[in-house]
C-alpha cells in the first residue's frame, strides 16, 4: 500500500477537488432519487421541483432563486467552517447553534444601545458585526475553558450552552430587547441603513426584490481566510496536529490548552458571524427566538463532514445544501411533501461516506 501510494503521480489539487465534487454530486443525486422513491414521492417531478427551487426556471427567471440559495448558504457555510476549525482540533463541538444565537443577540443589543446615540448607520453595522463575533467567540471559548480546566466533554457542554443561549435569547427578545410600540414578540426592526445592502437592482429581475445582500460577500471572503489560517499558518498547523494526534502535539510541546481554547473561540466567532449576517441580511433585521432556532448549527456538521472538514469542501457542500433547502421549500409549496425530507438525504449522505470510510479503514487494518 505504502509504496504504491508513493510511486503514484500526485493529482493536482483542483482536479482532485473537481473530481471529488463530481463524485459527491452524483452520489447525492442518486441518494435523492432513492430517498424520494422510498418515500413514494414521484422522483422526476421531485427532482425538477428541487432544481427550480434552487436555481429558478426559464419562465420565472433565475436571479430570485439563485439569490435566495446564496443567502441561505452564507450562515450555513460559516457554521460549517466553524465546525471545521473545532473538529480539526479534535474538539467535537456541536455548539454552532448557540453561538449563532449569541452572535445575533449581541448584535441586536448593540443596535438597540447604539441607535440611541448619534452614530452613523454603517458604523452601527460594523459594531454589530464586531460584538456579535465577540459574543460567539466568548460562548465558544467557555466550552473550551471547561474542557481544558475541568475536562468537561465539549459535546455535553455545548449542548447545555446551546439551550442556555436559546432561553437567554427568548427571554431578552420578549423582555428588555422587545420591539417598542406595537405588540410584537421580537426585537426592533432595524432601519435600512443598518441592514446589508441588496446587491441586485430590482430592475434586473422584473422588479421583484431579490434577497442577495452584501453579507454573502463577507461570508465568501471569510472562507479563504479560514483556509489560510488552518493550512498556511503555524497556529493552524499546530491545531491540526493536536486534533490528529495529541500525543505528537504533547511531544512537540505545543501549548495544547491554549490551542483548544482558541480553536473553540475562533469556531464560535465564525459561527456567530453567520448569525449576525443572517440578521443583517433579513428583511427587517428583527431577532426572534423562533426564527433563529432553526437547524443551521446542526446541518452544518454534515456539511462540514461531507466537505472533508476543509474550507473549500465546506463551501461546496453548504452551497449544495442551501440549494437543496430552497429546492425542498419549493417542493413543499407545490406538492405538500414536507421540506424536512432534506434531512433524510443529508443524513443518508453522511452515513454513506462514514460507512465507506470506516469500512475501508477496517479492511486496511485487517490486510496489514
Amino acid at each position: 500500500m505504502q509504496t504504491e501510494a508513493r510511486t503514484r503521480r500526485p493529482v493536482p489539487a483542483p482536479v482532485r477537488i473537481i473530481a471529488l465534487a463530481a463524485a459527491y454530486s452524483a452520489g447525492l443525486i442518486v441518494l435523492l432519487a432513492v430517498t424520494f422513491a422510498m418515500l413514494r414521492i414521484p422522483v422526476p417531478m421531485a427532482l425538477k421541483q428541487l432544481w427550480v427551487g434552487a436555481v429558478g426556471s426559464a419562465d420565472e427567471g433565475h436571479l430570485y432563486a439563485i439569490s435566495s440559495t446564496l443567502v441561505e448558504m452564507a450562515p450555513l457555510m460559516l457554521a460549517a467552517l466553524s465546525v471545521c476549525i473545532a473538529w480539526r482540533a479534535g474538539l467535537f463541538s456541536i455548539g454552532a447553534q448557540g453561538q449563532i444565537l449569541m452572535g445575533a443577540l449581541a448584535a441586536t443589543a448593540t443596535a438597540r444601545i447604539a441607535s440611541a446615540a448619534p452614530i452613523p448607520a454603517p458604523l452601527i453595522t460594523f459594531m454589530m458585526l464586531v460584538t456579535g463575533v465577540a459574543a460567539g467567540a466568548a460562548w465558544g471559548a467557555l466550552a473550551g475553558l471547561m474542557r481544558v480546566k475541568r475536562g468537561v466533554q465539549e459535546v455535553i457542554s455545548t449542548i447545555m450552552l446551546n439551550y442556555t443561549a436559546l432561553h437567554i435569547v427568548s427571554w431578552l427578545v420578549l423582555g428588555p430587547l422587545r420591539a417598542r410600540g406595537a405588540y410584537r414578540t421580537e426585537s426592533d426592526s432595524l432601519p435600512d441603513g443598518i441592514l446589508f445592502a441588496r446587491l441586485i437592482p430590482s430592475a434586473w429581475s422584473d422588479h421583484i426584490q431579490t434577497s442577495l445582500h452584501a453579507g454573502v460577500l463577507l461570508a465568501l471572503f471569510v472562507c479563504p481566510l479560514v483556509y489560510i489560517y488552518m493550512f498556511r499558518t503555524s497556529a493552524g498547523f499546530q491545531l491540526r496536529v493536536l486534533g490528529a494526534n495529541d500525543e505528537a502535539a504533547r511531544t512537540a510541546h505545543y501549548p495544547a490548552d491554549r490551542l483548544k481554547i482558541s480553536a473553540m473561540a475562533l469556531s464560535g466567532g465564525v459561527a456567530a458571524l453567520g448569525g449576525v449576517i443572517q440578521l443583517l441580511g433579513s428583511a427587517t433585521g428583527s431577532l426572534s427566538a423562533a426564527s433563529f432556532s432553526g437547524n443551521t448549527g446542526f446541518t452544518a456538521i454534515p456539511a462540514a463532514l461531507l466537505g472533508g472538514l476543509h474550507p473549500a469542501g465546506a463551501f461546496v457542500t453548504s452551497l449544495f445544501f442551501a440549494g437543496l433547502t430552497q429546492g425542498c421549500r419549493n417542493l413543499e409549496q407545490n406538492t405538500g411533501v414536507s421540506s424536512v425530507v432534506i434531512y433524510v438525504v443529508q443524513a443518508a449522505a453522511v452515513l454513506a461516506v462514514v460507512g465507506i470510510r470506516a469500512f475501508r479503514q477496517r479492511s486496511e487494518t485487517e490486510a496489514s
Binding site: L39, R40, F92, I94, M146, R150, G151, V152, Q153, V155, I156, S157, I159, M160, L161, N162, Y163, T164, H167, I168, S170, W171, L174, G175, N295, F298, T299, I301, P302, L305, G336, V337, S338, V340, V341, I342, Y343, V344, V345, Q346, A347, A348, V350, L351, V354, G355, R357, A358, F359, Q361, R362, T365
Partner: protein
C-alpha cells in the same frame, strides 16, 4: 396544598419521559458509548406510538411499537458507531437529522399538514394524571442501579466503558455488549417518546421531542453517571418545566425563559464543580477497535 400537590404531580409527569430516556442513556454511556441521537430516538418513539395506536386502537401496542421502532434506529446507530467504529458524535447528530426528516415526512404523508388534528386513544390514567409509564420510569431507577452495580452483566457493561481492552481480553465481547446497551437505550428512549405522545397528548407534531433528548443527555451527566443521580436531575428538570407552566397559569411575571434555562446552568455548574469529571466512564466516546 392543592396547588402544591398539583405542582408535584406535574413535575413527575414532566420528569417521567426524561427519566426513561436518561436511564437508557445511562446504561449506554456506562458501556462507553455516547448516543447524541437520543433526541431522534425519542421523536421516533413518539411517532411510532401514535401510528401503532392509530392502527390497533390500543395505546399499549403503541408503546410496544415505539420501543421497537426506536430500538431499530438505535441498532442503525450501533452499526455505525459501534461495529464500524465511526465517530459517535457524528453518527448521533446524523441520527437526529435522519429521524427529524423521516418522522416529518411520514407524519405529513399519513396525517397531512395538520397532524395535531388527528388524535388517537391515550394511555389510561392509573392514578391522578399518571399513566402506567410513570411507575415504569420510577422502577427503572432501582432496576438500573441493581443491574449496573449488583449483577455480572452490569460489571461487564462497566468494564466495557472503563477498560474495554481489559474487558476484551477477559473474554467479554465489547462490541456485542455495547450493541446491546445501545439497543436498550433505544428501547427506553422509544418508550419515553410514547410517554410524550400516547402518554400525554395523543397526537404527533413535527419535532415534538423539543430537545428532551438533549435534556436527558444533560441529566446523565448532571446525575454523575448513577441511576439515583439521574432521578434527582430528572426531577430538577421536571420541576423547572412545571414551574414554568404553573407560573404562567397563576399569572406570575417571572420571565419563564429564565426558569427554563436554570437546569442547563445547574448542569454546567455541576460539571464544573466535579474534579475533572472523574465519574465519567474512562472510555466514554472512544470507539473500540479490536487490535
Amino acid at each position: 396544598m392543592s396547588i402544591l400537590s398539583a405542582a408535584i404531580e406535574g413535575s413527575i409527569t414532566m420528569a417521567a419521559p426524561l427519566l426513561l430516556a436518561s436511564i437508557g442513556e445511562l446504561v449506554v454511556q456506562r458501556s462507553g458509548v455516547v448516543n447524541v441521537g437520543l433526541e431522534g430516538l425519542i421523536l421516533t418513539g413518539a411517532l411510532a406510538a401514535v401510528l401503532g395506536t392509530l392502527n390497533t386502537h390500543n395505546p399499549l401496542i403503541g408503546v410496544v411499537c415505539a420501543a421497537i421502532a426506536a430500538g431499530a434506529v438505535a441498532l442503525l446507530f450501533a452499526l455505525f458507531a459501534v461495529r464500524l467504529a465511526a465517530n459517535q458524535v457524528v453518527v448521533g447528530v446524523v441520527i437526529n437529522l435522519l429521524t427529524l426528516g423521516l418522522t416529518g415526512t411520514v407524519s405529513r404523508a399519513v396525517f397531512g399538514a395538520q397532524s395535531t388534528f388527528v388524535s388517537v386513544e391515550a394511555l389510561p390514567h392509573l392514578f391522578a394524571n399518571q399513566t402506567i409509564l410513570t411507575p415504569l420510569a420510577l422502577t427503572m431507577v432501582p432496576a438500573a442501579w441493581w443491574l449496573l452495580n449488583r449483577t455480572r452483566s452490569g460489571l461487564m457493561i462497566r468494564a466495557a466503558g472503563e477498560q474495554p481492552a481489559a474487558a476484551d481480553s477477559s473474554g467479554i465481547s465489547v462490541l456485542n455488549l455495547r450493541t446491546v446497551a445501545v439497543l436498550f437505550g433505544g428501547v427506553m428512549a422509544g418508550i419515553a417518546g410514547a410517554c410524550l405522545s400516547v402518554g400525554d397528548v395523543p397526537t404527533f407534531q413535527e419535532g415534538m421531542s423539543a430537545g428532551r433528548g438533549f435534556i436527558a443527555l444533560a441529566i446523565v451527566t448532571a446525575g454523575r453517571w448513577s441511576a439515583p443521580g439521574c432521578l434527582a436531575a430528572a426531577l430538577v428538570f421536571g420541576i423547572s418545566e412545571e414551574l414554568e407552566i404553573q407560573g404562567q397559569a397563576m399569572g406570575l411575571h417571572i420571565p419563564h425563559d429564565i426558569l427554563l434555562a436554570v437546569p442547563y446552568v445547574i448542569t454546567l455548574i455541576i460539571l464544573l464543580s466535579g474534579s475533572h469529571s472523574s465519574k465519567a466512564p474512562a472510555a466514554l466516546g472512544i470507539p473500540y477497535v479490536k487490535r
